[in-house]
Symmetry: C2
Subunit: 384 residues, 2 copies
């Protein structure tokens, strides 16, 4: 017998109440809706000004609603890291869904074809190997309409993608020749460049990588192959890539939320990005018996642990730090002389690495100022 | 329009098919059911032999079914780290549910009282502060029946719990005097001792801590206070704590799965625990274009990142290592001369820190030998 509140969680009754942001049942993932809207508008304006299209990455938010806001602001579609994310986005009605990682195994190819059959508004996927290309060709042939593919180029990152120009050309020609496939272009994502600390170095390496890619594309086009789409970039290089005029669209993700890493780069003036923090985790003080710190209710099942620590924000004494204190707790370390937050006090933290932090939560709590205005599911949380 | 397979995920059709373990849609969280059953039986036997009761910790598995197996093997109840876990366990019919962290804020206290009203088979919670004790007393008085509480003692860990004997006595007396509460005993969990590498040091510090606790309990009992329950311990000290004959029950969790950390202690002979690995993540090779490694489809949204790396097991060339390669990918680094797993090959990894790894998955894939025999939900995943 299940009597728990399902779906939107224990805070649903607070929607619309003034002051509800500071009365949430915690831990709670919070999105500042005003900041989110400004971030989406700022990236849309920057891309328009630079003459490049946007297909933002849903791996960051995994939310049909937020993807819809990005498309409403002019994005021509949505990128997905996993097939499960693409299923959520297609079934949520999003157009132009592109899967940025190879879909390889037989069960995944079967799911991809089921999705392809129902993706009325566009679906594409990368390929980086002739065997995978042949498997997709056979399966899409049986599905009765061609599947759009982009050839993935590794661009020095080496995670996925073909390793050299010869392989790129071979795969592009094979895709064009395949009756079940439609060759749509090239993906080249430099994940290794997004977090280079010094902006000058990040710019130099980004432009060098794009120049190399540009040469390959020129030769490809000179040999008579049309390459309508060239897709890449991230929030760390979104304003650098367009200088090279090589990419036709940007796969930016983190700009909508801005986590601790990206914010530090902003504060240091190393990044020109006109974005602001929109993502927080609210946590409550649940134990106050130790000197110098209090224990809060958000631990490593609430925050990603692959990057910096959460950064205390609203409600925390200035100068305090947050450390993990097990699965369900955090230690708010107080600076000398700081007032001690009382038992039950609520504070917010800027999140470490935003993508895997979001993946730990079932819902977003949307706030405007101090008011909870809505709760949205993290639709593709945990979907592979 | 949602046409995805819901609930049990894409592998449901494979249940019962011979060889299905190596044909799973990946990444997939796998439990070796034979090993799980042996681990549960071994801990039950060890506790019986030592004359101590078990109330295993559900924070590890968050599964009503696995908790039921532990109770069927003789456990007198189930511990929970969060109220959300306790809701899942009570609503799943489990007896003797004990919440090991303070439940403090007004929304949490309201949920606790709703749970208390429907927990026919027993519910208790720790308190570590007089304000929280008073709040629970008021709320439980209104609920019409007393709420069982254990006073939490910090035991040098300092995460939660009162800090000294004077406070312990004060809280115990306050709980006894409170009409809405029933004083049930003391919790003293030494989370800081579980992972001490050298067994001799772990034993010495565990027994010293328990001797201190024993003195406090003697004085408490000499002053006329009955202390029926003394709860603590973890998988790292389960065979050391009973020596002191202080604890009446053990809150062990990780023994059912055994992760990389605990297994290393086992292999080094530092731990006498008769347990074996029961938890794995299956991952597929999705890109093979780089020298010296292949890229797999399980990254830091599939594995906890607060401890060691995943450890390659079945299907991986001996001597290979696994490194994180972004949110959705891992790098299987091959030893010199090792055969290269082909595109689409499936391998398994022993998981890093098991509790937060489980929390990243919606379902367990139960296997016996090479066959998927069932799929169970991770009922309390993400529940706070």
């Amino acid at each position: 017998m299940m009597r728990r509140m399902a779906g939107l969680g224990p805070n649903e009754a607070l929607i619309g109440r003034a002051g509800s942001r500071s009365a949430l049942d915690t831990p709670a993932l919070i999105v500042d809706l005003d900041a989110l809207e400004r971030n989406i508008a700022a990236m849309a304006a920057a891309a328009r000004a630079a003459g490049v299209a946007l297909r933002p990455h849903a791996k960051t938010h995994k939310s049909v609603r937020i993807a819809g806001m990005q498309v409403a602001a002019g994005a021509l579609g949505i990128c997905c890291a996993t097939l499960g994310e693409a299923e959520a986005m297609v079934d949520g009605g999003l157009p132009g869904v592109h899967i940025t990682s190879p879909v390889v195994t037989p069960p995944k190819v079967a799911r991809l074809m089921a999705l392809h059959r129902r993706a009325e508004r566009g679906l594409s996927v990368v390929v980086d190997h002739p065997e995978n290309l042949a498997a997709l060709d056979r399966a899409a042939g049986a599905a009765g309409r061609p599947l759009a593919v982009l050839v993935d180029f590794s661009a020095g990152h080496g995670r996925t993608g073909c390793a050299d120009e010869a392989e790129l050309v071979r795969l592009a020609r094979a895709a064009i020749a395949a009756e079940g496939l439609e060759f749509r272009g090239i993906q080249s994502y430099s994940g290794n460049l997004q977090h280079i600390a010094r902006r000058a170095e990040r710019r130099a390496r980004t432009l060098a990588e794009l120049e190399r890619l540009g040469g390959m594309l020129r030769r490809l086009r000179d040999s008579g192959i049309a390459v309508p789409i060239v897709s890449g970039a991230g929030t760390g290089t979104f304003d650098l890539d367009p200088e090279a005029r090589i990419l036709t669209e940007l796969q930016v993700g983190s700009y909508i939320f801005m986590d601790v890493d990206y914010l530090r780069a902003l504060k240091d003036g190393r990044n020109a990005a006109p974005f602001e923090t929109a993502l927080f985790v609210a946590t409550s003080v649940v134990s106050v018996n130790a000197p110098g710190y209090v224990t809060c209710d958000a631990g490593l099942k609430c925050f990603a642990t692959d990057g910096p620590a959460p950064e205390p924000a609203a409600g925390a004494p200035p100068g305090s730090r947050y450390e993990f204190f097990g699965d369900e707790h955090g230690k708010l370390i107080l600076p000398p002389g700081a007032p001690r937050p009382p038992l039950g006090a609520i504070l917010e933290c800027v999140t470490p690495h935003c993508d895997p932090t979001v993946n730990l939560h079932d819902v977003y709590h949307l706030v405007r100022g101090d008011t909870l205005v809505d709760i949205w599911p993290v639709d593709a949380r945990g979907k592979r």
